[in-house]
C-alpha cells in the first residue's frame, strides 16, 4: 500500500468524525430508546453515515469493519456504499490507486459484510432485502450478494429457515427473467439424472455465471436447492443422505409429529396452513394450537441455545419442561432479559458469570477501576421495542469490566431517578488508597435528573482540587436521536463512548488513542483491511 493521502488540513476534521463515528457505530441500534422512537433513531444514524461518507468514502467502511460495530450501523454503511457507484464519492484518506485498483475497496466491503454476518445471518439477509427496496442491483452488489448466499456452508438449513427471504433476494439479484431461465434449466437438469451439467453452451454459461461460480458443490445439489427456494420442488427427490434437513421438511409437509430437525417457526408455518393434512386435527381450535405448539417446542432439536433461553417464558407458558444448558448460551441479552422477566435463578447467575469470564478483555489497559452503574428507570429502554436492553447492556458490561480488571469497585445509583453525582462521590469514598483507581467508568444513558450538569460539577471540582488525571469514561448503552445518534454527554470532564456489547469496549478505548496519532491509527486500519482474507467468491474456478 502507498502512504495515506490524508492532508494535515483534513486530519482535524477526520479525527473528530472518526471519534464520533466509532461512538455511533458501537451504540447505534434501530430499536427505540426510553425516549426515542425507532424512526428517529434510524434517521439520526443515516444522517451520520452520510456525513462520514461525504468527508471521505473510506471512513464509514473502516468504522464498520471494527469489532463491536452494531449490526444496524454496518448494515446502513453497506447500504449507503452499495447505493453509490463503485467510483463515486471522494477518496481522501487512501490513495485511489490502492482503493480501486488494488482491491482495497472490495476488501473493506467484504470485511464489513463479514462483520455484519457475525451479528447473525438475518442481519445480512435484511440488508439484501433493503437493497431490493432501494432498487440497488449494480454489478458489484450482485456479485457480493450471490457470493455470500451461495457461499454459505449451511445453505440447506438456511434455505429451509429463510426460504422466502432468500428467494426474494435471489429474484431481485438475478432479475425475473434470469430467475425463470435458471429454474427452467434446473428442472431440466434434475430430470437428466447425471452429475454433470448438460445443456447448450449458452445455458452452461448462464448457470456457471449465476450459480456455480459461487457455489461449493455439484450442480445438481445447487439446482435442487434453487428449486426448493422458489417452491418448484414438487416431484424433486431430496434423499436423506444428500439432504438430511430438506428430506425431513418434505415429511413435515404431511406429518409434523415426529419431526426433529426442522425449525419451530417453519413447522408452525406449515401446520397453520389450511392445506396441511393435519390442520383440522392440530390447528383448527385454540386448544389444538396450544397443544401443537407445546409438542413442537418439545420435539424440535435445532433451536439454538440462545433462542431457547429467549423462549424461557413462553416455554413455561406452554407447560413444556425443557432443560436448557444455560452455560452454552452466548447471547448475554437473552440471559439478562430472561432474568429480568422471570427471575435470576442460581443457574442463570452462574451462566452470566461464566459468559462474562469468557468475554473479558484480555490485556485490559486498566488494573484498578471504579464503576458507577445507573440503575434508574430510563435504563429500561422503550416499553414496546427494547424493554430492558440498555439495562442488560450496562449490567453485563459492568460484569465484564469487573472480570477484565484486577480490582474493581462498583456503586449503583440508589433512587429511581438518575443521581450519578452522589454515586460518583460514593465511589470515590470506596477507593482503596493503597490501590487507587486507574480509570472510572460510568455506565449510564446520560439522562441526569437531579439536575442536568450536577455530575459534571462534581467531577470538575474533584479534578481541579486533586489534580487527578485519571480518565473517566461514560459508557452509554444507547445513542440518542437528539444528539445526532451520538451519546448524551454528562459533561466536559468525561470521555463518552457508546457500546452495545462489551466486545466494543476495547476497540473504543483504543480508539481514544487515535487522538494522539490519528494518521497512524488510520494507516493500521487500512493495513488490516489489506491483509483481510476475504474474497467475493469462496470458489475461484469451476470445472464444468
Amino acid at each position: 500500500m502507498e502512504k495515506l493521502v490524508l492532508t494535515q488540513k483534513m486530519l482535524v476534521s477526520v479525527k473528530q468524525s472518526l471519534i464520533d463515528g466509532l461512538t455511533i457505530a458501537s451504540g447505534a441500534k434501530s430499536s427505540a430508546t426510553y425516549y426515542h422512537k425507532k424512526d428517529e433513531q434510524m434517521k439520526a444514524i443515516q444522517t451520520q453515515i452520510k456525513n462520514l461518507y461525504k468527508l471521505s468514502k473510506e471512513l464509514p467502511l473502516i468504522i464498520a469493519s471494527q469489532k463491536g460495530a452494531t449490526g444496524r450501523f454496518v448494515s446502513e454503511v453497506l447500504l449507503n456504499e452499495f447505493k453509490q457507484t463503485q467510483k463515486g464519492g471522494a477518496c481522501n484518506i487512501v490513495n485511489p490507486i490502492d482503493w480501486y485498483d488494488n482491491g482495497l475497496s472490495d476488501k473493506a466491503v467484504l470485511t464489513a459484510l463479514n462483520n455484519l454476518g457475525e451479528n447473525g445471518l438475518p442481519y445480512v439477509l435484511r440488508l439484501f432485502v433493503d437493497l431490493k427496496d432501494a432498487k440497488v442491483n449494480n454489478e458489484r452488489t450482485r456479485k457480493i450478494v450471490l457470493g455470500f448466499i451461495w457461499g454459505q456452508d449451511n445453505l440447506e438449513f438456511y434455505a429451509m429457515k429463510y426460504r422466502n427471504k432468500i428467494a426474494q433476494i435471489l429474484r431481485h439479484t438475478y432479475g425475473v427473467k434470469k430467475t425463470s431461465i435458471l429454474l427452467t434449466i434446473a428442472q431440466k437438469q434434475i430430470n437428466i439424472h447425471g452429475a454433470n451439467l448438460v445443456g447448450t453452451q449458452k445455458e452452461i454459461g448462464i448457470v456457471n455465471d449465476a450459480i456455480l461460480k459461487y457455489f461449493n458443490g455439484d450442480s445438481i445439489r445447487a439446482f435442487k436447492l434453487l428449486l426448493f427456494l422458489f417452491k418448484k420442488d414438487d416431484g424433486v427427490n431430496y434423499s436423506e443422505a444428500e439432504f438430511p434437513l430438506l428430506s425431513e421438511y418434505q415429511k413435515a409437509k404431511v406429518n409434523i409429529t415426529e419431526v426433529r430437525n426442522v425449525p419451530e417457526e417453519v413447522l408452525l408455518g406449515l401446520i397453520s396452513s389450511v392445506r396441511h393434512p393435519q390442520y383440522h386435527t392440530m390447528w383448527a381450535t385454540d386448544l389444538q394450537k396450544e397443544a401443537t405448539k407445546a409438542m413442537i417446542r418439545k420435539n424440535v432439536k435445532v433451536t439454538s441455545v440462545n433462542q431457547q433461553v429467549r423462549q424461557t417464558k413462553s416455554t413455561a407458558k406452554l407447560g413444556v419442561t425443557k432443560t436448557v444448558n444455560l452455560e452454552q448460551a452466548t447471547d448475554y441479552l437473552a440471559l439478562y432479559k430472561t432474568g429480568y422477566e422471570t427471575t435470576f435463578t442460581p443457574e442463570l447467575r452462574v451462566a452470566i458469570n461464566k459468559l462474562a469470564e469468557k468475554k473479558k478483555i484480555n490485556g485490559f489497559f486498566y488494573k484498578s477501576i471504579g464503576v458507577v452503574l445507573d440503575d434508574s428507570a430510563s435504563m429500561t429502554g422503550n416499553k414496546n421495542e427494547s424493554k430492558n436492553t440498555p439495562r442488560a447492556i450496562a449490567d453485563f458490561t459492568a460484569k465484564v469490566l469487573g472480570k477484565s480488571a484486577d480490582c474493581a469497585t462498583f456503586v449503583k445509583t440508589q433512587d429511581e431517578t438518575t443521581d450519578i453525582a452522589t454515586s460518583f462521590i460514593e465511589l470515590l469514598k470506596s477507593e482503596n488508597t493503597a490501590n487507587p483507581y486507574d480509570a472510572i467508568f460510568i455506565l449510564t444513558d446520560g439522562y441526569e435528573n437531579a439536575y442536568d450538569g450536577l455530575t459534571n460539577e462534581v467531577i470538575q471540582i474533584w479534578k481541579a482540587e486533586t489534580g487527578s488525571q485519571i480518565p473517566i469514561f461514560q459508557i452509554s448503552p444507547i445513542t440518542s436521536a437528539e444528539m445526532g445518534a451520538n451519546v448524551r454527554n454528562l459533561g466536559s470532564g468525561v470521555v463518552t463512548m457508546a457500546i452495545n456489547n462489551p466486545a466494543a469496549l476495547q476497540p473504543q478505548i483504543t480508539a481514544r488513542l487515535l487522538e494522539i496519532d490519528t494518521k497512524r491509527w488510520l494507516e493500521n486500519q487500512v493495513l488490516a483491511l489489506e491483509a483481510a482474507p476475504v474474497k467475493r467468491t469462496k470458489k475461484i474456478s469451476v470445472n464444468v
Binding site: S378, Q414, E416, T417, Y451, G453, W462
Partner: protein, 365 residues
C-alpha cells in the same frame, strides 16, 4: 359555594424523597418538578380506565366535545385535554377535567376551538394531547361559559407570544414548531414508581400542582403531561435564556472556606448541603401554599349529575385557580395553577400578617 383548603386537596400525598430524607427534585434550566406519592390504599388503580385509550371523542357543533366511554369502568378526563385530529375537522380543547360514567357518553358545551379557520366536525377519534400548562389559568376561568366557541383562543394567542411560535388561534402551530423539542424534553424527567402527583416550580416558585386518581393513571398520562403540558414552561425558559442552578458548586465553595477536611468528604458534605438546601427551598414553597383556602364552585356543565358520581368543583383563590374532582371528600383529581400575574411575595406578606394576627392577644383591659 364552599371552601377547600390546600392541605385537604392533597391529603394523603407526600413528596418522593431519597434515602436521606431529602425531597427528590428533578430539574431542567429554571424548571423543577417534585413528584408526589401516596400509600397504596389511596391509589384507586382498578377503579378508573385509561383516559387515553378508553374514550373516543366527537362533536356536532363548534365549542363542544362529546366523550364516549367504551369501557365498563369510569373514566376521569385529565385537566384540559385537546383533540388534535388528522380528520378534516376543527381541533377542539377542554377547559377543565371531566368525568365519564362506564359505557356512557358525556358532552361538554364549554369546550373551545383550538384551530381558528378550520371547519368540520370530528368523530370517533382518540387523537388526544394536553393543553400547555401556561394556558391553564385562562381556561379554568372559562369553565361553564357555553356561549360561542372561542373560549380558548385568547389563551392560544398568549401562548403564541410567550413561546414566539406565532400560534394565533392555532394550537397545532405551536405543537408543530416545538414537537421535536418537546419530545427531547421528556428525556429530562423520570417517573418514579407509585407516582400520584406532580408539583412544578419555575424559578423556585410553585406554578402548577396535579394530583391523579391512581399510580396507574399517573403512568398513563405522564408522557403527555411532561411533553405537552409542562413542556411549554421549559420552552419559555429556554427563550428567556434561563440556566441551570449550580447549587453544588456554591455549597462546595461555602464549605471550602470553613473546612479543611479530605476532599472527598468535602464533596460529600457539599452534596448533602446542596440537597438539603434544595429540599428546604421546596419545602418552604409548599409550606406557603398550605395556608391557602380556595373558594369551590360546583361545576355542572357536562358533568354527570347522578347522586353517586364524583363532583367537579372549580377552585379559586388569590393567585391560584384550579379544579378538583371529588367524591365523599376523597379527591380523585386535583389540578391547580398559579395565576401568571400573581406575585407569590404578596402571599408571603399576607401569610406573615395572618401569623402575626394569630399571635396577637384579644383586646382586654
Amino acid at each position: 359555594m364552599n371552601t377547600r383548603d390546600f392541605t385537604e386537596l392533597l391529603k394523603g400525598c407526600r413528596p418522593v424523597k431519597d434515602r436521606d430524607g431529602n425531597i427528590i427534585v428533578q430539574s431542567i434550566m429554571n424548571m423543577q418538578i417534585v413528584c408526589l406519592t401516596t400509600d397504596k390504599e389511596y391509589s384507586l388503580d382498578s377503579r378508573f380506565a385509561n383516559p387515553l385509550t378508553s374514550l373516543t371523542s366527537g362533536n356536532r357543533s363548534y365549542g363542544q366535545i362529546s366523550f364516549t366511554n367504551k369501557e365498563n369502568k369510569e373514566v376521569i378526563l385529565p385537566a384540559q385535554m385537546a383533540v388534535m385530529t388528522k380528520q378534516s375537522a376543527q381541533n377542539h380543547g377542554m377547559v377543565k377535567a371531566g368525568y365519564v360514567e362506564p359505557k356512557a357518553q358525556t358532552t361538554y358545551h364549554d369546550a373551545g376551538c383550538v384551530q381558528g379557520g378550520q371547519t368540520g366536525y370530528f368523530r370517533g377519534t382518540q387523537e388526544f394531547r394536553m393543553i400547555p400548562v401556561t394556558m391553564r389559568e385562562m381556561l379554568f376561568d372559562a369553565v361553564g361559559k357555553t356561549s360561542g366557541h372561542g373560549n380558548i383562543y385568547p389563551a392560544i394567542q398568549k401562548l403564541g407570544q410567550d413561546t414566539q411560535s406565532g400560534a394565533g388561534n392555532y394550537l397545532d402551530v405551536y405543537f408543530n414548531k416545538y414537537d421535536k423539542k418537546l419530545e427531547q424534553f421528556i428525556a429530562h424527567f423520570e417517573r418514579p414508581k407509585n407516582l400520584i402527583g406532580i408539583i412544578v416550580l419555575i424559578d423556585g416558585e410553585i406554578v402548577a400542582v396535579d394530583k391523579f386518581p391512581s399510580f396507574t393513571y399517573a403512568e398513563q398520562v405522564w408522557d403527555l403531561m411532561i411533553r405537552d403540558c409542562y413542556g411549554a414552561l421549559a420552552i419559555i425558559s429556554e427563550l428567556k435564556h434561563k440556566s441551570n442552578m449550580n447549587e453544588f458548586t456554591q455549597a462546595y465553595e461555602d464549605l471550602k472556606r470553613s473546612h479543611r477536611e479530605n476532599i472527598v468528604d468535602l464533596l460529600e458534605r457539599a452534596m448533602k448541603r446542596a440537597k438539603e438546601k434544595v429540599t428546604a427551598s421546596v419545602q418552604e414553597k409548599i409550606q406557603e401554599l398550605l395556608d391557602l383556602t380556595f373558594d369551590a364552585t360546583l361545576d355542572t356543565e357536562g358533568q354527570p349529575s347522578g347522586a353517586r358520581v364524583p363532583k367537579s368543583y372549580v377552585l379559586k383563590t388569590e393567585g391560584y385557580v384550579g379544579q378538583v374532582i371529588t367524591e365523599n371528600e376523597f379527591n380523585h383529581l386535583v389540578s391547580v395553577v398559579k395565576r401568571d400575574r400573581f406575585d407569590p411575595n404578596a402571599l408571603r406578606d399576607l401569610n406573615e400578617l395572618r401569623k402575626k394576627a394569630r399571635k396577637q392577644e384579644r383586646f382586654g383591659l
